[in-house]
Point group: C2
Amino acid sequence: MITEFTKTVSGSGVKLTPQRMAILDCLNGNESHPSAEEIFRHVSQTYPMMSFATVYNTLSMLRDKGLVLELTIDPARKRYDPNVKLHHHVICLGCGKIADVHAEYELDVPADIAEAFVMSGNHVEFYGTCRACGNAAQLKGE
Amino acid sequence: MITEFTKTVSGSGVKLTPQRMAILDCLNGNESHPSAEEIFRHVSQTYPMMSFATVYNTLSMLRDKGLVLELTIDPARKRYDPNVKLHHHVICLGCGKIADVHAEYELDVPADIAEAFVMSGNHVEFYGTCRACGNAAQLKGE
DNA sequence: ATTTAGGTTTAGAATCATTCTTGACAAATA
DNA sequence: TATTTGTCAAGAATGATTCTAAACCTAAAT
Protein backbone atom coordinates (compact mmCIF):
# COMPACT_ATOMS: atom_id res chain seq x y z
CA MET A 1 0.00 0.00 0.00
CA ILE A 2 1.27 3.42 -1.00
CA THR A 3 1.27 5.85 1.92
CA GLU A 4 0.69 9.58 1.81
CA PHE A 5 4.29 10.04 2.79
CA THR A 6 5.49 8.06 -0.20
CA LYS A 7 3.23 10.11 -2.47
CA THR A 8 4.60 13.32 -1.00
CA VAL A 9 8.17 12.27 -1.60
CA SER A 10 7.41 10.97 -5.05
CA GLY A 11 5.63 14.22 -5.85
CA SER A 12 8.66 16.29 -4.91
CA GLY A 13 10.58 15.14 -7.96
CA VAL A 14 12.47 12.19 -6.56
CA LYS A 15 12.75 8.87 -8.30
CA LEU A 16 11.07 6.10 -6.36
CA THR A 17 12.98 2.86 -5.92
CA PRO A 18 12.20 -0.22 -3.83
CA GLN A 19 14.90 0.76 -1.35
CA ARG A 20 13.55 4.26 -0.97
CA MET A 21 10.00 2.99 -0.62
CA ALA A 22 11.14 0.67 2.16
CA ILE A 23 12.83 3.56 3.96
CA LEU A 24 9.76 5.74 3.50
CA ASP A 25 7.53 2.97 4.83
CA CYS A 26 9.78 2.63 7.83
CA LEU A 27 9.58 6.36 8.51
CA ASN A 28 5.90 6.92 7.71
CA GLY A 29 4.07 7.73 10.93
CA ASN A 30 7.07 6.56 12.92
CA GLU A 31 7.16 8.36 16.26
CA SER A 32 10.14 6.47 17.68
CA HIS A 33 12.72 8.91 16.28
CA PRO A 34 14.93 6.16 14.84
CA SER A 35 18.61 6.51 14.08
CA ALA A 36 20.07 5.71 10.67
CA GLU A 37 21.20 2.37 12.03
CA GLU A 38 17.75 1.46 13.32
CA ILE A 39 16.25 2.31 9.96
CA PHE A 40 18.94 0.25 8.24
CA ARG A 41 18.26 -2.75 10.47
CA HIS A 42 14.54 -2.50 9.86
CA VAL A 43 14.64 -2.24 6.07
CA SER A 44 17.37 -4.90 5.91
CA GLN A 45 14.79 -7.43 7.06
CA THR A 46 12.91 -6.91 3.82
CA TYR A 47 15.84 -6.04 1.57
CA PRO A 48 18.97 -7.80 2.80
CA MET A 49 21.01 -6.23 0.00
CA MET A 50 20.27 -2.76 1.34
CA SER A 51 23.40 -0.66 1.78
CA PHE A 52 24.02 1.65 4.68
CA ALA A 53 24.98 4.32 2.19
CA THR A 54 21.53 4.18 0.66
CA VAL A 55 19.97 4.84 4.04
CA TYR A 56 22.23 7.84 4.59
CA ASN A 57 21.75 9.08 1.03
CA THR A 58 18.00 8.84 1.31
CA LEU A 59 17.88 10.49 4.72
CA SER A 60 20.08 13.36 3.54
CA MET A 61 17.90 13.80 0.50
CA LEU A 62 14.73 13.84 2.59
CA ARG A 63 16.31 16.26 5.03
CA ASP A 64 17.40 18.59 2.22
CA LYS A 65 13.87 18.56 0.80
CA GLY A 66 12.44 19.29 4.23
CA LEU A 67 10.57 15.99 4.39
CA VAL A 68 12.18 14.70 7.58
CA LEU A 69 13.72 16.42 10.56
CA GLU A 70 17.26 15.55 11.56
CA LEU A 71 17.38 15.79 15.33
CA THR A 72 20.62 16.48 17.18
CA ILE A 73 19.15 16.09 20.65
CA ASP A 74 20.86 12.72 21.15
CA PRO A 75 24.59 13.39 21.55
CA ALA A 76 25.46 9.93 20.31
CA ARG A 77 23.79 9.94 16.90
CA LYS A 78 21.34 11.72 14.67
CA ARG A 79 17.69 10.81 14.96
CA TYR A 80 15.07 11.22 12.27
CA ASP A 81 11.49 12.39 12.50
CA PRO A 82 9.05 12.24 9.57
CA ASN A 83 6.76 14.70 11.34
CA VAL A 84 7.94 18.08 10.08
CA LYS A 85 5.12 20.05 11.66
CA LEU A 86 6.25 22.40 14.41
CA HIS A 87 6.86 20.50 17.61
CA HIS A 88 9.56 19.88 20.18
CA HIS A 89 11.17 16.92 21.90
CA VAL A 90 12.10 15.42 25.22
CA ILE A 91 14.92 12.90 25.57
CA CYS A 92 15.34 10.47 28.44
CA LEU A 93 18.83 10.90 29.86
CA GLY A 94 18.72 7.27 30.96
CA CYS A 95 17.81 5.30 27.84
CA GLY A 96 17.83 7.93 25.09
CA LYS A 97 14.15 7.52 24.26
CA ILE A 98 12.78 10.59 22.52
CA ALA A 99 9.14 11.69 22.68
CA ASP A 100 7.29 14.45 20.89
CA VAL A 101 6.32 17.57 22.80
CA HIS A 102 3.34 19.08 21.05
CA ALA A 103 3.26 22.60 22.33
CA GLU A 104 3.77 26.11 21.04
CA TYR A 105 5.91 28.59 22.86
CA GLU A 106 6.42 32.31 22.57
CA LEU A 107 10.12 32.51 21.84
CA ASP A 108 11.15 36.07 21.12
CA VAL A 109 14.88 36.59 21.19
CA PRO A 110 16.57 39.61 22.80
CA ALA A 111 17.22 42.63 20.63
CA ASP A 112 20.96 42.03 20.29
CA ILE A 113 20.34 38.59 18.83
CA ALA A 114 17.48 39.73 16.62
CA GLU A 115 19.88 42.28 15.12
CA ALA A 116 22.71 39.84 14.61
CA PHE A 117 20.73 36.93 13.16
CA VAL A 118 17.93 36.43 10.70
CA MET A 119 16.01 33.73 12.50
CA SER A 120 14.65 30.79 10.56
CA GLY A 121 13.45 28.41 13.24
CA ASN A 122 13.82 27.03 16.69
CA HIS A 123 13.51 23.84 18.63
CA VAL A 124 13.15 23.15 22.32
CA GLU A 125 14.99 20.22 23.82
CA PHE A 126 13.73 18.90 27.12
CA TYR A 127 15.88 16.62 29.23
CA GLY A 128 14.33 14.22 31.69
CA THR A 129 13.93 10.68 32.89
CA CYS A 130 11.25 8.39 31.55
CA ARG A 131 9.03 6.18 33.69
CA ALA A 132 10.97 3.00 32.96
CA CYS A 133 14.34 4.56 33.80
CA GLY A 134 12.95 6.27 36.89
CA ASN A 135 11.59 2.99 38.20
CA ALA A 136 14.84 1.19 37.45
CA ALA A 137 16.76 3.84 39.40
CA GLN A 138 14.40 3.46 42.36
CA LEU A 139 14.86 -0.32 42.42
CA LYS A 140 18.57 0.18 42.73
CA GLY A 141 17.90 2.44 45.70
CA GLU A 142 18.98 5.77 44.30
CA MET B 1 46.79 34.67 37.01
CA ILE B 2 44.41 32.25 38.66
CA THR B 3 40.86 32.75 37.47
CA GLU B 4 37.66 32.23 39.44
CA PHE B 5 36.88 29.36 37.11
CA THR B 6 40.14 27.63 37.99
CA LYS B 7 39.42 28.13 41.68
CA THR B 8 35.95 26.66 41.25
CA VAL B 9 37.29 23.57 39.52
CA SER B 10 40.11 23.21 41.99
CA GLY B 11 37.66 23.49 44.85
CA SER B 12 35.50 20.69 43.49
CA GLY B 13 38.02 18.02 44.41
CA VAL B 14 40.08 17.57 41.27
CA LYS B 15 43.80 17.78 41.00
CA LEU B 16 45.10 20.84 39.20
CA THR B 17 47.73 20.20 36.56
CA PRO B 18 49.33 22.52 34.02
CA GLN B 19 47.33 20.86 31.26
CA ARG B 20 44.06 21.33 33.08
CA MET B 21 44.88 24.91 33.97
CA ALA B 22 45.55 25.64 30.32
CA ILE B 23 42.21 24.12 29.35
CA LEU B 24 40.45 26.05 32.10
CA ASP B 25 42.12 29.27 31.00
CA CYS B 26 41.01 28.61 27.46
CA LEU B 27 37.43 28.07 28.60
CA ASN B 28 37.23 30.81 31.22
CA GLY B 29 34.86 33.52 29.99
CA ASN B 30 35.00 32.02 26.51
CA GLU B 31 31.80 32.82 24.66
CA SER B 32 32.84 31.29 21.35
CA HIS B 33 31.50 27.83 22.20
CA PRO B 34 34.66 26.03 21.08
CA SER B 35 34.82 22.40 20.04
CA ALA B 36 37.26 19.94 21.63
CA GLU B 37 39.51 20.37 18.64
CA GLU B 38 39.56 24.15 18.92
CA ILE B 39 40.45 23.88 22.58
CA PHE B 40 43.17 21.37 21.75
CA ARG B 41 44.64 23.64 19.10
CA HIS B 42 44.62 26.58 21.46
CA VAL B 43 46.27 24.90 24.44
CA SER B 44 48.73 23.13 22.14
CA GLN B 45 50.29 26.49 21.41
CA THR B 46 51.39 26.70 25.02
CA TYR B 47 51.81 23.01 25.74
CA PRO B 48 52.82 21.19 22.56
CA MET B 49 52.90 17.88 24.43
CA MET B 50 49.20 18.16 25.18
CA SER B 51 47.25 15.08 24.20
CA PHE B 52 43.84 15.11 22.63
CA ALA B 53 42.77 12.56 25.21
CA THR B 54 43.55 15.00 28.00
CA VAL B 55 41.26 17.57 26.42
CA TYR B 56 38.45 15.05 26.17
CA ASN B 57 39.09 13.70 29.66
CA THR B 58 39.06 17.16 31.15
CA LEU B 59 35.95 18.22 29.26
CA SER B 60 34.10 15.06 30.31
CA MET B 61 35.14 15.63 33.89
CA LEU B 62 33.97 19.23 33.80
CA ARG B 63 30.71 18.20 32.17
CA ASP B 64 30.10 15.50 34.81
CA LYS B 65 30.72 18.02 37.56
CA GLY B 66 28.36 20.47 35.92
CA LEU B 67 31.09 23.04 35.31
CA VAL B 68 30.70 23.24 31.56
CA LEU B 69 27.78 22.66 29.23
CA GLU B 70 28.15 20.21 26.40
CA LEU B 71 26.09 21.58 23.53
CA THR B 72 24.66 19.31 20.83
CA ILE B 73 23.29 22.14 18.71
CA ASP B 74 26.02 21.71 16.09
CA PRO B 75 25.35 18.47 14.24
CA ALA B 76 29.01 18.08 13.35
CA ARG B 77 30.61 18.14 16.79
CA LYS B 78 30.06 18.90 20.43
CA ARG B 79 30.62 22.44 21.60
CA TYR B 80 31.53 23.53 25.11
CA ASP B 81 30.28 26.45 27.14
CA PRO B 82 31.77 27.42 30.51
CA ASN B 83 28.70 29.51 31.28
CA VAL B 84 26.42 27.08 33.08
CA LYS B 85 23.84 29.68 34.06
CA LEU B 86 20.49 29.18 32.37
CA HIS B 87 20.58 30.44 28.82
CA HIS B 88 19.94 29.32 25.29
CA HIS B 89 21.73 29.42 21.94
CA VAL B 90 21.43 30.38 18.32
CA ILE B 91 23.50 28.74 15.62
CA CYS B 92 24.20 30.21 12.20
CA LEU B 93 23.23 27.66 9.59
CA GLY B 94 25.83 29.17 7.30
CA CYS B 95 29.05 29.16 9.30
CA GLY B 96 28.14 27.31 12.49
CA LYS B 97 28.80 30.26 14.74
CA ILE B 98 26.96 29.93 18.04
CA ALA B 99 25.83 32.87 20.16
CA ASP B 100 24.25 33.03 23.59
CA VAL B 101 20.58 33.85 23.90
CA HIS B 102 20.04 35.32 27.33
CA ALA B 103 16.32 34.97 27.85
CA GLU B 104 13.94 33.07 30.05
CA TYR B 105 10.95 31.29 28.63
CA GLU B 106 7.87 29.70 30.17
CA LEU B 107 8.18 26.14 28.97
CA ASP B 108 5.49 23.99 30.51
CA VAL B 109 5.10 20.64 28.82
CA PRO B 110 1.74 19.06 27.99
CA ALA B 111 0.18 16.77 30.57
CA ASP B 112 1.00 13.54 28.74
CA ILE B 113 4.70 14.39 28.74
CA ALA B 114 4.68 15.65 32.32
CA GLU B 115 3.30 12.25 33.33
CA ALA B 116 5.75 10.23 31.32
CA PHE B 117 8.93 12.12 32.20
CA VAL B 118 10.50 13.65 35.26
CA MET B 119 11.90 16.80 33.72
CA SER B 120 15.37 17.94 34.64
CA GLY B 121 16.11 20.74 32.21
CA ASN B 122 15.61 22.24 28.81
CA HIS B 123 17.40 24.18 26.15
CA VAL B 124 16.17 26.21 23.23
CA GLU B 125 18.03 26.03 19.96
CA PHE B 126 17.50 28.85 17.52
CA TYR B 127 18.50 28.46 13.89
CA GLY B 128 19.33 31.44 11.79
CA THR B 129 21.79 33.24 9.58
CA CYS B 130 24.36 35.62 10.96
CA ARG B 131 25.18 39.02 9.48
CA ALA B 132 28.35 37.85 7.77
CA CYS B 133 26.68 34.87 6.12
CA GLY B 134 23.63 36.91 5.17
CA ASN B 135 25.80 39.50 3.45
CA ALA B 136 27.82 36.83 1.69
CA ALA B 137 24.61 35.29 0.35
CA GLN B 138 23.43 38.67 -0.90
CA LEU B 139 26.69 39.28 -2.74
CA LYS B 140 26.18 36.04 -4.59
CA GLY B 141 22.71 37.27 -5.53
CA GLU B 142 20.56 34.83 -3.62
C1' DA C 1 17.26 -4.68 -29.83
C1' DT C 2 21.26 -1.53 -28.60
C1' DT C 3 23.08 2.36 -27.01
C1' DT C 4 23.31 6.22 -24.20
C1' DA C 5 22.74 9.10 -20.30
C1' DG C 6 21.35 10.07 -15.69
C1' DG C 7 20.44 9.00 -11.51
C1' DT C 8 20.72 5.03 -7.91
C1' DT C 9 22.73 1.35 -5.36
C1' DT C 10 26.30 -1.31 -3.43
C1' DA C 11 30.39 -2.46 -0.95
C1' DG C 12 33.92 -1.02 1.04
C1' DA C 13 37.32 2.38 1.99
C1' DA C 14 38.04 6.75 4.19
C1' DT C 15 37.18 10.24 7.46
C1' DC C 16 36.18 12.43 11.58
C1' DA C 17 34.87 12.84 16.32
C1' DT C 18 35.19 10.49 20.33
C1' DT C 19 36.43 6.79 23.58
C1' DC C 20 39.39 3.31 25.32
C1' DT C 21 43.75 1.11 26.68
C1' DT C 22 48.18 0.83 28.34
C1' DG C 23 52.16 2.05 30.38
C1' DA C 24 54.71 5.85 32.31
C1' DC C 25 54.61 9.32 35.76
C1' DA C 26 53.77 12.32 39.84
C1' DA C 27 51.97 13.76 43.98
C1' DA C 28 50.07 12.05 48.29
C1' DT C 29 50.12 8.56 51.78
C1' DA C 30 51.79 4.93 54.59
C1' DT D 1 61.28 3.99 50.72
C1' DA D 2 57.13 1.56 49.08
C1' DT D 3 52.37 2.05 47.92
C1' DT D 4 48.44 4.09 46.39
C1' DT D 5 45.85 7.06 43.61
C1' DG D 6 45.03 9.88 40.07
C1' DT D 7 46.83 11.93 35.69
C1' DC D 8 49.02 11.98 31.19
C1' DA D 9 50.56 10.74 26.46
C1' DA D 10 50.26 8.10 22.51
C1' DG D 11 48.06 5.58 19.82
C1' DA D 12 44.71 1.99 18.96
C1' DA D 13 39.85 1.19 18.69
C1' DT D 14 35.18 2.39 17.96
C1' DG D 15 31.22 4.21 15.88
C1' DA D 16 28.78 7.38 13.07
C1' DT D 17 28.93 9.30 8.83
C1' DT D 18 30.73 10.44 4.22
C1' DC D 19 33.03 9.36 0.08
C1' DT D 20 34.38 6.61 -4.02
C1' DA D 21 34.17 3.67 -7.74
C1' DA D 22 32.02 0.37 -10.13
C1' DA D 23 27.77 -1.95 -11.19
C1' DC D 24 22.90 -1.33 -12.06
C1' DC D 25 18.38 0.32 -13.64
C1' DT D 26 15.25 2.92 -16.31
C1' DA D 27 13.86 5.70 -19.82
C1' DA D 28 14.85 8.01 -23.96
C1' DA D 29 17.19 7.90 -28.35
C1' DT D 30 19.04 5.30 -32.02
